[in-house]
Symmetry: C2
Subunit: 273 residues, 2 copies
């Protein structure tokens, strides 16, 4: 299988260098020659939206995605309306930053009734679409690993994300494939093919053995068991040629100086992705 | 939905009282009026097979399952043969103990090639069937939660377990439904219906929020988010009327005196299952 030959598609998902402010992440990306960035909303808020936009544009970086919208389910109608309002702000921020996609982490159930929560996710996306379309922002449903079903996302497989996305126009709603969340799935490759031109993002990291931590246990590419290159080539075969985000939630990575993380990330990207 | 009215179907999976020897677990079950037990092979080995059989029979307990066979994939043919030999011994032990089913935890991949590992699981089961049939032992494929895909089982969904089981006669190979492993699955109820008379076991515990530990984080029924009664009634609607095993891997539960655990387990069983 062919290796990647350059860094044209490489994107720094900002969580990978969580200690850095948005400005530091922008400057670090420029130093490292990484052309894409995926900011997080909390970091954008800290820096200010207009400032964030200016840092990114002045540095000549492109924005692969904004992390994140979602969290649609809530116990009450008022709660769901609050979530929707927040998603509308996320859409506006994505548009302002020139992000190609707003990533949706769809949220957990407010109670034991996971089926109802899934219905609320569908309703939330449906209600968000007009605003997203008006702002030229595409929505990307990111299925999360099933171990986050109770706390972060009731959307847990790529098949489920595809079924949900297919209820809407492909221009409006697609899916985001993160290797950490989906690598275990026996239907993975058929669902990647099915996703086709709805794939709005591809995130890489690795699954370390043993898993050091439920949330902060993701590994640098090459440190775990995921068939990264096979998955990258599958999303390409399905039609995705866009940016490849490195998104690593890991305390040890966060404790490493950002420039070192980016250097290692570039090396592993060519070697393993 | 109707509650369970008595303890006729209640089974103590021995891991729930991991500090107890087999003899202590048998005696504790008798004290608590729990009619079924699911021993673990390491505990049977400690007590001796013939002794274990005698304890259980003398106490008048029934054996819902033996935990566990499986772990089929290995890097070499010799390694896979060793695993198969061990599975044959597990079958003999299940027969000796009068277990209704040998639970199969199918094992992780020896490398990154998870597809090949899954093929090795299928081959291992196929090779084990004649021995199991000769000993009157049914095999139950237990899909494990995807968070265990790299370390314990490449079989991670009930759908995948069903597809695998359906390659063989229903008399030989079925599936085991453990709520902790499958509750998150968007296809759960259709796959329970599909499993039908292949369901060979039903295991209960709960998914605590937040998850305290990847391996030892299961909760007592009622302490988490799983729709236990809905799932129990679904397996019954599919045709399963057999024992219901309480299987809890949890350090805090293990640190509690066994008699207290069994008392709480009985209370929660009637209240939540």
């Amino acid at each position: 299988m062919e290796k990647l030959q350059n860094f044209d598609r490489l994107s720094l998902n900002q969580i990978t260098t969580d200690r850095w402010s948005l400005r530091e992440a922008v400057e670090g990306s420029v130093r490292a020659g990484i052309p894409w960035i995926a900011p997080w909303r909390n970091k954008v808020a800290e820096a200010g939206l207009a400032e964030s936009r200016r840092y990114i544009r002045d540095a000549g970086l492109k924005v692969s995605s904004l992390c994140r919208g979602g969290y649609f389910p809530a116990a009450t109608a008022a709660g769901r309306q609050e979530r929707l309002d927040d998603n509308r702000r996320a859409v506006e921020e994505a548009a302002e930053l020139g992000a190609e996609v707003l990533v949706l982490v769809c949220g957990p159930s407010a109670d034991k009734d996971i089926a109802t929560a899934r219905q609320q996710v569908e309703e939330g996306i449906e209600q968000l679409i007009p605003h997203a379309r008006a702002h030229g922002v595409k929505l990307g449903i990111e299925p999360l690993h099933p171990m986050y079903a109770a706390e972060r996302s009731v959307i847990v497989t790529l098949g489920q994300a595809n079924t949900l996305a297919e209820k809407f126009n492909a221009e409006d709603v697609g899916v985001v494939v993160d290797v950490f969340h989906v690598w275990w799935d026996p239907n993975l490759y058929s669902e990647i093919a099915r996703a086709g031109d709805r794939i709005r993002g591809f995130h890489v990291s690795d699954w370390i053995v043993p898993v050091p931590d439920l949330l902060l246990g993701r590994g640098m590419m090459g440190d775990g068991v995921i068939e990264l290159r096979r998955m990258r080539q599958a999303v390409e075969a399905a039609g995705y040629k866009g940016p490849i985000e490195v998104e690593i939630f890991n305390r040890a990575v966060w404790d490493t100086p950002g420039d070192e993380v980016l250097a290692l990330m570039k090396e592993r990207y060519l070697e393993h992705c």
